[in-house]
Amino acid sequence: MADGVAHNARGNGWVGIVPVLFAAALFTYFVSLMPTIAGLEAIRFAAPWIPSLGIEFAFLVDGLSLTFALLISGIGTLVLLYSNTYLAGHPQYARFALFLTAFMVSMLGLVLADDLILLFVFWELTTFTSYMLIGFSHDSEKSRRNALQALFVTGAGGLAFLAGLIMLGAITGTSSISEILTMGEALKAHALYVPILILLLAGTFTKSAQVPFHFWLPNAMAAPTPVSAFLHSATMVKAGVYVMARMHPAMSGTDIWLWTLTIFGAVTAVFASFLSLRQTDLKQALAYTTLMALGTLTLFLGQESGYAMTAFAAFLIVHSLYKASLFLIVGCIDKSTGTRETDQLGGLARLMPVTTVAAALAAMSMAGFPPFLGFIGKELKYAGAIAVTSEPVLVAGAALLANSLMLAVAGVVAFRPFWRGTVPSTQSPKEAPWQMLAGPVILASLGALFGIYPDLLQTALIDPTVLSLTGQIEEAKELKLWAGVNIPLVLSIATFVLGLIIYAFHVQVRAVIERVFSALPNLDRGWDRFLDALKAFAKWQTNIVQNGRLSSYTYVTFLTIAAGIFLTFLYTGLPAITVDLSDVEWKHTSIALLIAAGALLTLFTNSRIAAIAALGVVGIGIALIFIVFSAPDVAITQLLVETLIVVLVAVVMLRLPLLPKMEFRLNHAVLSVAVGAAVSLILISVVSSPLDLRLTEYFEVTSWPEAYGRNIVNVILVDFRALDTFGEIAVVVIAALSAYALLRTTRKGDEK
């Protein structure tokens, strides 16, 4: 299943090249900022956006955001280069490149934003672009379903996240993130701290796929492999982790922060490691190891110690490097052999030497062998775990178990397919082109380079990131390959031994895991049942609410109006009714009688045309009232509208048969009387309070001198309130076009 790609050597032309150059330019720009950030400074850029709400287009480059920005733009460049070959000649490549580039820009915006609202906008943009990319193969049912699942899960979390951000903005009185970070103490003491934390974590946990919201991430692997490498391992899923890291200085240090992050992170890490070993599909196995990494990063963010923070920064970089590289390698294997199943792969080392070397480098880093950066990351993990004051044994135990399983998975994914077994005779794999090898080779080599020369990272990225996380540079611990014989080293050796044992027996272990996990509830299937139930409920309530009978719609509408009015009266008390009929003249009475007669005739006739004409009488009676009270404009409009309605309705009604014999419908009669009474009561109460004439007077005075018009109604429409009028005519056009579209759709069915 090579993502349904058409193998075509035509290439993608400039659509393929421009995004790569764009990403490379961004990467170069961020590299040029590195010396400033390494000097432990931060760069802030702000422009007003919605000044009345204090919302700014504010961006902040500090250690944390620069680390993320470099990973996003750097891996983005390589992934775009890779995709251009991977999806060469794909008919929708332009769309793909657009979404992927849009995602990259949104993700950069997310990590650089220094304003809560701006952060949220970019947050949702990444969710949206991720949806479009997972569902890129939109002719596949599975891909659409998985895309929608990811959208729903992360979108629901996004709503909670927005609520959390708004509350955060409300209690701190600013939407600037860097300002909020200085108010940590006040924030933690605030009564709303816990609700805010829960809402924010709901957002970050769904985005970063922590158990029990993890199920969408492995399904997101329906996306083309470069997307999985970029979004669903190296960047987007780390958005949640990023936000937790960003908020760390202000919100960490409480028991609820510590325990929530530690428990969710640890459970996710261990749970995902087991599930990862269970998979036989290379991509799925990698997807679960990504979950493990996200769990581990969350686990570290729960802590306060410098070791944990340094471990966070180091592991963040290590993971992005080796994981993106492994995903891209799986893409190469998939492309050249046509499968990703471990038991159908073997002996690739001889045929794909470059891929093999890259895979070996990345896997060694993932497994945590020296001298790779992964080893340093793992040492720091253990150091960080031991530094946990509350439960060092638990955290270190979780880390040990997860790391050993990672080592075994690294063996399954990147060692077995290349070195074990033989190439099945049905395949004739060959090396992928250089554009596809560049990414894995560069990323995997960086893992080795930084492992041998950790100083390269130390001052440039690790120290500034730890500064962002803790506010103190002294907290940054040194990255080194050989730290002497200490507990982390012992644990490392234990990891190797345990990991190799698991790898040696991974087939048996897999069977055990299979048995245990098949007994557990399957959240993915639960999701389907949940959606089915939701759809059934929607259908049920639609059948009730939208039964297709016009009379019941009207009934419900008027019932709501009457209920609304009477409930208001119940709350405020009935208005004092003072009816003064002394200035009623015969012309008023006769018009009222005319209207009443029209209404009664409409009710009791069984000829449709008579009913329409009688309804017209009611309308014309109302126009007469406007004339009597000297509002000619309104009267003319009323008259014209009334005429048109009679004509329109007559056109339709004339073709219909006579109305059936009227039977008396008590509920309709009661409702009519109730609505009539309610509206009359309102009118009486309005009239009995003195009318506020300020606006009328203002328009009377200013209409001629300022707007050069004597017809006040028209002057209000086209001048004083022209924007309102514009909105209204826009609605008129939209209504006409939609009605036209509706009429045409039903027509098509009959004729064609």
């Binding site: 000619p632 404009d633 003319i636 409009t637 014209l640 509208v641 005429t643 048109l644 004509v647 329109l648 056109v651 339709v652 073709r655 707007a707 050069y708 018009g709 004597r710 017809n711 109604v713 028209n714 002057v715 429409l717 086209v718 001048d719 022209a722 924007l723 009028t725 514009f726 005519i729 826009a730 008129v732 056009v733 209504a735 006409a736 076009l737 009605a739 036209y740 009429l743 045409r744 039903t746 027509r747």
Partner: protein, 139 residues
């Protein structure tokens, strides 16, 4: 509807109503009238014509699609509103030009407000006809 009298009458009536509708729109700023009323009056003329002769005839007489007229109207109204920005005023502020103005006489007043009203006229005219024609054809 097959009636010779109606057919003969409506073709003249439609023309008269159209002229009248333009008159109603133009006088609107000082006397009862305006774009909304004008648009409705003009549309009534064509609706009568469509009933008297046929929708096909009415469409032919109109030459352009009614929905196109409505959308153009919206565009014209928007342009009239945005025009104020050229002079640095808030959007939809009326801009006036008095041609041949003297001390006592304001001359011929031309304004963006009139353009806006023409837009309203076209929107109402086009939307009503879109609806009526579609409905008549549907039946």
């Amino acid at each position: 509807m097959n009636s010779v009298i109606l057919r003969a009458g409506t073709s003249y009536l439609a023309g008269l109503l159209l002229v009248f509708s333009v008159y109603m729109m133009l006088r609107g700023h000082n006397e009862p009238g305006g774009g909304f009323i004008g648009g409705l009056t003009g549309a009534t003329g064509f609706v009568l014509y469509a009933i008297g002769c046929s929708v096909g005839e009415a469409r032919k007489a109109l030459r352009v699609l009614p929905q196109t007229i409505a959308v153009w109207g919206l565009g014209i109204a928007l342009a009239a509103g945005l025009f104020a920005a050229v002079f640095g005023d808030a959007l939809f502020t009326g801009q006036w030009l008095f041609i041949g103005a003297t001390e006592d006489d304001k001359g011929l007043p031309l304004s963006s407000v009139l353009v806006f009203d023409i837009g309203v006229y076209l929107v109402v005219f086009g939307s009503v006809l879109t609806l009526v024609f579609a409905m008549e054809e549907e039946i």
